[in-house]
Symmetry: C2
Subunit: 244 residues, 2 copies
Amino acid sequence: MNPVEEYPFIVQPFEVDFRGKLTFPLLVNKLLNAAGHHADNRGFGMRDINKVNRSWVLFKISLDLTRCPKEREEIKVETWIEGLLRTFTQRNFAISDMEGNALGYARTVWAMIDTETRRPVNLMEYGIDQFIHQKDCPVEKGGKIALIDDVEAQESFTIKYSDVDINQHLNSAKYVEHIFDAFTLDEIKRHNLIKRFEIEYVEECRYGENVYIYKKEVEPHDFIIILKKENGSVACKSRILFSE
Amino acid sequence: MNPVEEYPFIVQPFEVDFRGKLTFPLLVNKLLNAAGHHADNRGFGMRDINKVNRSWVLFKISLDLTRCPKEREEIKVETWIEGLLRTFTQRNFAISDMEGNALGYARTVWAMIDTETRRPVNLMEYGIDQFIHQKDCPVEKGGKIALIDDVEAQESFTIKYSDVDINQHLNSAKYVEHIFDAFTLDEIKRHNLIKRFEIEYVEECRYGENVYIYKKEVEPHDFIIILKKENGSVACKSRILFSE
């Protein structure tokens, strides 16, 4: 089986934002769905590992974008496993239009956990190594995202029905939606493009929890957004770099 | 061109709720996207009419469901125009699995408006009549949804980036998401199925507006949900009937 798989999709009318472009949270959603299918088709997806009390946990996304897909455009996402360590695996993505022009690339880091002990398991037993593949994926290496301790919470939200996955946790794509909802349309309009997006998932958030959003423009066009739980612990750290 | 068109889709991992079923708001989203493609392909979709300062406005959805699509299931939505009046058109939907078993049916009512005057235009000029088609669509005729004046607002939300369409209005599918988010997981878990969903769109909601949610179980398993704007005017009325 080919280590790289391709997932085409058409940007639907109800998937675009006020600019007529695919909303950024939904772009991330498309990547995660591609990852799900790729893993399922190779026997190490949620479908199979859930049966033996295992689950994938996403730790990090780094995404560089040169153009945002627009309404009705046909786009393809390619995904493959670049590397495998005992408790981590790196999955990459290429996003392109149907003429083969690159729109962006992403790198993600995952672990598999035992759903009872919540501890990472040894990834060497799942036959993932046979699919490891090297392919161009020019995403700048991001450093650790800094905490921002000198700002007040901008707003908060409560985790609801449409936010949660089958484990009743805030789903990975919905973190991104809440992060982007912390920006006004004017802030998004001022910039042409989201050039870079990074997120580090730190702690799971459960249904009904209140989550607080902290946001700061640390350099011009460069934002850090932190989600914190009621008790002050960090749920995720994120960075958005807009073009000028 | 065939008056009925068929849109298949696969329920994606990040489209399911805590029960592993397609979230109801996303089911509505799939219907609206099918409507968009069907109209675009026949020359009276947003793509063409926006160029002449026209826009479709959705007035009403009535949906009867017998089963909810589950994760990874392949589903198809068929849509067609059942009727056309001077200022209204009725579009129907059939939802079924790949073996052809019906999962549900929906009826919707639309008008086309002039985006400058906000007034309905004469639908007879758009060649829609040639696609009128009769096909079985067993959806119970719902009455007017009653207002509920004896309850306090349960909660409120502010309209954000991911809520709005290209006109910076709350998009029709996002109304449904906010309505379902007014239910706890326990309320949804207590029932097997959403048997019936109705929504009447009354007034547009703009980016940045605060919207208040009123909800009441008027009969056992039968809920009315009203969204109101800051000034007290009704934005939409909705009814959800769960199975026992």
